[in-house]
Each structure stands twice: as structure tokens, then as C-alpha cells.
Amino acid sequence: MDDDLEEFREIFLEECLENVELLERGLMRMDSGESDPDTLNEVFRAAHSIKGGGATFGYQPMAELTHFMETLLDEMRAGRRDVVPDDVDLLLEGLDIVQAILTESRELKASADHDGRLDLQVRLQTSVDGQAPAQSSDDVCQDVPAEKAERSWLVEFAPHENFFLRGNNPLLLIREIQRLGSCKVTQNFSKYPGWDEFNADNCYMSWLIEVTTESPEEELREIFDWVDTDCDLSISPIVAKENAEMPSAVLAPEPVVVPVSAEKTSEAEKSASPNAAAEPASATPKAGAGGTAESSSIRIATDKIDHLINLVGELVITQSMLSRVCQSQNPIDVTELRERLADLEYHTRDLQDSVMQVRMLPISSAFSRLPRLVRDLSKKLCKDVELVLEGESTELDKTVLERMIDPLVHLVRNGLDHGLETADERMANGKPPTGTLKLNARQESGSVVIEITDDGRGINPEAVFNKARENGIVGNEELTNDQINQLIFAPGFSTAETISDVSGRGVGMDVVRRNILDLGGRVHVYSTYGEGTRIEINLPLSLAILDGQLVKIAGEIYVIPVLSIIETLEVSKTDCASVPGTGEIFKFRGEYLNMLRVSEFFGLGNTTGGELIVVVDTHGKRMGLVIDEVVGQQQVVIKPLDKNYQNIVGFAGATIMSDGSVALILDPAKFNEPALQAEAA
């Protein structure tokens, strides 16, 4: 039992996270005034799932809190109260706590709690009581049953007309229930059609059974196990004092109750399950402490998998055709062989694309956190901001996506804090009072581009340059405005006058750039002072495959990621110079760049001694790599070196060329790292 639960725990936690996301999205919609029934229902369902699952898996604090949230939501859903910002704030606060509990539970591998939970529960309850005291109070206290105590259940048992034809006897079932505890049985003849249409073989009766028993709900359900397809059944807990007012003709109005009561059943099942399942599950957290190693998983649409299976089928057919061609007694038919090989190539490429697709997720899962962030932050900063999200369906590798969330959040924070002005300031500058922050994602030839644009005050090149000089990041050299703009990514740079908890510590942008570079991407900032800022991020589509530039150095083939290459050029001796202390430099588009002789740097052997240079972007600094020969471009599959060996600084891994040989992939982003520099020195 414990092991079974353990297996589902990961799935549950993942589902919880999904539901939290759903809940947040819904609440944000409610916050902006869209409280239509669909949204409310969606939000309610999400909260309900978290609560139900939480109780089943022994996450009591989480279940309890979501229960209070659910109560409030239920009031709204039933139209008994309006959706007011204060309530949404409360719910959002609750959501934060649920999220905190989830994260902590994941780490502990057991149920966690949060300090602010009880306080919030009280406030939620107060809010519920304040506006709709009568109806809701029952709902709330029903969730704190004394363990093992007698409980009352209302069993609605409505056999279908053909119940008797299957050889069932309702009386036996009712007698079974009587054995569990004291019963009060009410018959219902409302379906009786009258003498004219009466058929003695049909069952027209239904029963309402109130039973008070110590047995859990499962035991009640078990009784009906054999007949559950032949009847409509609903079992729900009842609170003691309601007994008297229970109507005896609940089923009366509808002559045919099939669809309605089926839904009722599942609904009742759900709302009953937290209480019923809590007992057996409460022992599991302890058992889970030494549990399984953490593994991440991915949800894949079935059609993607079906497509894969189809492709593999094609591949197998092509393969068998190929072997038939080769096995034939006659001399091999070269034309057919070529044809089949072309087929094989086609299918292989298709398969590769489809397999890559499996890891791709829409960027909306990263974007979806931003509306909430912008909402909270703009309130805090007293700025009016409109957030525009574009290209949310652009797909990105799961790992890339996950590692992009923090940088994105940071850039959005920065844009809000530093970029956008307050309404007054904006109006004074002739801008509309509401600022716009736009995120745009799109695919562009093998890479994904994410743009973050704001129409705020832009970067003041003078201020940035002065600040950078003050902090010792740059000397007295002349820089173009574009170069100055990039300084905001330098380590230890911050222009904010005061350090707020929003931003201003001068570590963020540096980390943002580092994260992006680690993913094999690039980031560039464009800004016009007074008009706004645009930050452009280039990311590889996948981490497993990269577009590689093949180059020859000292007789061996090496791969340089195309994304980090700016230009390949041949320089004349006159444009190069050897500078004591700095090494060799060369002139590139009017600026001098460091020149790195790769073969000497890594001790690769003798080169042809030419001056062919690949200019690469390394952590915002450009440098020229001296190579012998440009071979060509192709997509390469990255294979880690540390699978069977160890990583080598300066190399991103290795790949296998079409002739079966191994080529190493250079990692120019690491060439500036102190560790590598020290080793080379």
C-alpha cells in the first residue's frame, strides 16, 4: 500500500503544481473582472483536486487550507457572494502558501506546513462568515470529524428499471447496510407509471437510506459493488442535525435520473473522499522519508506518441526492404538501393524531429507566472502596467524552458522597477499613463527568440557609463552606446539609487546573462534613452542537438556552436599585433579583439599557421579563435564527456560525425573562465 502510494506521490505533486498554475491563472482572470461561471468552475475544480489529493496522500495542512479556499470559492460559484478584490487577494495568498507547502513537501518527501496557514484560514473563514454566514458554516465544520466516531451517511439508491431482470434483489442489499449500523429507510415510488403502463418485471422503486455507522465509506460502497452498473448510487456524509429536515422525496422531480445522479455520485464521491481516505493515508509520510530518488517527468500528448510509433513502424518497413534488396540472389539493384536509402534518410530525419518534439513545451508555462508577478509588483511600486504576452505557443525544450523561468522573472522585475516610470512621470513626458511591458516569443531559424520590451525611460548611457567607471568595470576607454548598454549585464553593476527588495543588488543581470549563456544562448539589450528598452534573448531549440560549425584545427575536426559565432574572417598580418601582457589582438569592425590560438591554448599540435579567425561571443566579450580551416555546417548531437570520462573545461561535449569518428565541441562561453585561463598560463 505504501509503495503504491509512493509511486503516485510524484504524479500527485506534479498534478498539484499544474492545478496551482490553473488556479493562479483563473484567479488572475477573476482579478481583472472576468468572473464568469466557467472561470469560477475551473478555479473551484482546481482547488478541489488539490484538496482531495492532499488528503489522500497525507498532506493534511494543504488539504485543510484548500478546503477553506474552496468554501469561499463555492460561495462565489453559487452566486451567494460577489467576487471582490479583497477575496481574490486572500485566495492568492492562500495559493502562495499552498505552493510553499508543495515545494517544501517535495524536498522533505513528506507533508510540510507553513507558518502563515492557520492565520490565513481564520481570515478566509471570517470572510466567508462575514457575507454568507448561514449556508456556509455547515460546510466548514463538517471537515473536522472525530476519528473512528460514528458517522451518518445518506445513501441514495435508485435501481434502474431492468434491475430485477439481472437477478438482483434490493432487499438483500438494504439488509447488508443494516448490518453495518442503525438505518432509517425511506422508499420512493415516484417513478411508478400507473397501472396502464405498469410492467411487473420492472423496478420502479428507489430508496433513501440514512445509516449511522463506524464503518468507512468504502465498506458502504462495497455492498453495491455488484450492482453499480445497474443502479444510480450516491453516498454522502450528513451532519447529525440535518436528519430531521431531510426531504423524503429528493429523487421525486426527475422521472429519469441517469445522467444527473451519475454526476452527483462522482461529485459526492469527491467531496467525501478526503475524510474517508485521510485515515489510511496518514501513515505514509513517515514511510516516504527514505523513499525513491527524485526523478523528473514530462507529460506528452498522445498524438505525439502515436506519431512516433507510426514513424518507427515506417522505419522498420524501410529496414526490411533494404535487407531484402541486399539479400537478393541477383546482383544488387543499385537504383532500388538508392531509393530505399533515400526513404531511410527521410524517415530518420522525421523520427529525429518527432523525438525532439517530445521534449518541447509551449513557452506559455513560463509566461503564465508573469501576470501575477506584474500584478503584485505594479501594486507595490504604484505603477500602472499593462502586460502583453505574444507567441505563447512557441515551443522550447523542457530543460531550456525550466532554466529560463528565473531569468525571465528577473528581467520582468527589472523592467518594472527600473524601466517603467510612474504615471505622473509618464504624463509629464507626454506618454500614456499606463506603461506597457511586452513579451514576445518566436522561432527563428533553429533558435527561439524572446523579446522583452518596455516603453519606459530606457537606459541612460551617461549614467550607466559613469556608474560602470565608478565600480571599476570599465576604464576610461571610449565606448559606443550599444557597448554601454551591454554593461548592465556586467557583474557588480547596479544603477538603482536604493536597494529595494525588488531589484538593485547588481547581481541579477549578471546571473541572467550567465544562465542564458550556460544554455548556449545569447542576450543583447537595445535601448533608446527616454523611449524604452528591448532585451533580446536567443536560445537554442534544444540542448541535445546544436547547429555546429565544423572547423579543422591541427588536423582534427572540432565543432563550434553556430549560435555563439558572430563572423568568420581572414585577417591580414597588418591587422594583427602582439601586445605584451594581453597576448595577440586583431582589428574587427573598428575595435580590437583578443586573439586566441586554439591549438596552442589546448596544446593540440602544429597548425597550418594561417590567420583564419572565428569571432565568438564569450560572456558578452568577443574574441577571435584562430583555426586552420572551415569545413562546413551541420546539426550535431551533443554527447556528454563525463558519461565515461570526465568533463574538460572549454569543451561542451563530443559528437559523432557521419564517418563514425568522434569530434569535440568547443564551448567558447567558458574560454574566459579563470580556471581555464589559469590552466593555460
Partner: protein, 167 residues
């Protein structure tokens, strides 16, 4: 021989089997259980910034596998590649993962069975000879001496950065 208890003997038989090969004129042996396959010599890709006993990497059916110059690792003089030069692919578990690597040897000889009474632990002979612990024992088959290697320190020294990493 097989009659009495089939199962235990079967296990014992593999456990006592050693693949032997020649290195600098001496016969060496490693446990057959750690051997995955034997490959003929072929081109490899050199690895920069690696210890000198790591020759480079090869493509073993899609996996990047390092090949080690066993002569260099054991401190023996290096030699030219000949037609008998072979790569013994070994696999062993290290930090919960199966690692694969190739050992370059002068030539592969045969599979020998060594019974416990034919083996003398290296520690009983002279502990000063082999400070790195690469040699585990000495075996004897038909009056012929076989040096039995302990693969673990060789594998560890390949997977963990050592001061030797400096070029």
C-alpha cells in the same frame, strides 16, 4: 565434474576466469566479468587537457568511450602500434552508473581459469612494488606467471580529476 551441483560451479567458473593479454612481454589478466568486448585497433580522437595515459575517445556504437594506454598507466615504456594491438572494452559501475572504457594492450591471449590455490595476493609478495594498487595478485597457469590487475583504481583515476591532469 558438472554432475553434483550445477549452479554454484557455474558461478565459480566465471568468477575464476581471467582474460589474459600481453603487455611489454609479460602476461596480464583481468576478471572476465568486467570485460564487455574486444575491439581491434582503430583511429581515435585525442583529448586535450587530459592525463597522458588517456589517449583519446572512440565511438562505440554511439557512446563516447575513452581509451587508456595501459602501458602508460602502469609506467611501462611505450611502443609502436602493431597488427596485434587491441582494445579491451571494460565496464564497471561507478557512482551508480555503468562506465565503459577501453584498455589498449599489445595483444590479447586467451581466457584462463585460475583456482584460488593458483593465486597469490600481491600484498603477500612485496607491497613496495605497486604503490597505486593496480596489481591485485599473481596467478600461475602451467608454470606461467600471470599478473592479475585490479581495475578499480584504474577506473577511478580516469573518472576523477587528478593532479596529473596538467599538461
Amino acid at each position: 565434474m558438472l554432475a553434483e551441483s550445477a549452479n554454484p560451479t557455474a558461478i565459480d567458473e566465471t568468477a575464476n576466469q581471467y582474460l589474459t593479454f600481453l603487455l611489454n612481454g609479460e602476461e596480464y589478466g583481468i576478471e572476465i566479468l568486467k570485460v564487455q568486448e574486444i575491439k581491434s585497433w582503430g583511429p581515435y580522437t585525442p583529448l586535450p587537457r587530459s592525463p597522458d595515459f588517456v589517449l583519446g575517445v572512440i565511438n562505440l556504437r554511439g557512446a563516447i568511450v575513452p581509451i587508456l594506454d595501459l602501458r602508460a598507466r602502469l609506467g611501462l615504456p611505450s611502443t609502436e602500434v602493431s597488427s596485434t594491438t587491441a582494445i579491451i572494452i571494460i565496464s564497471a559501475e561507478y557512482e551508480q552508473q555503468v562506465r565503459t572504457m577501453g584498455l589498449v594492450v599489445d595483444s590479447v591471449s586467451e581466457v584462463n581459469q585460475l583456482l584460488p590455490q593458483d593465486i597469490q595476493q600481491a600484498s603477500e609478495v612485496n607491497s613496495n612494488v605497486d604503490p597505486d594498487g593496480y596489481i591485485s595478485a599473481f596467478g600461475r597457469v602451467d608454470e606461467k606467471l600471470i599478473i592479475l590487475l585490479n581495475l578499480d583504481p584504474i577506473i577511478v583515476s580516469t573518472l576523477e580529476p587528478t593532479p596529473e591532469t596538467d599538461v
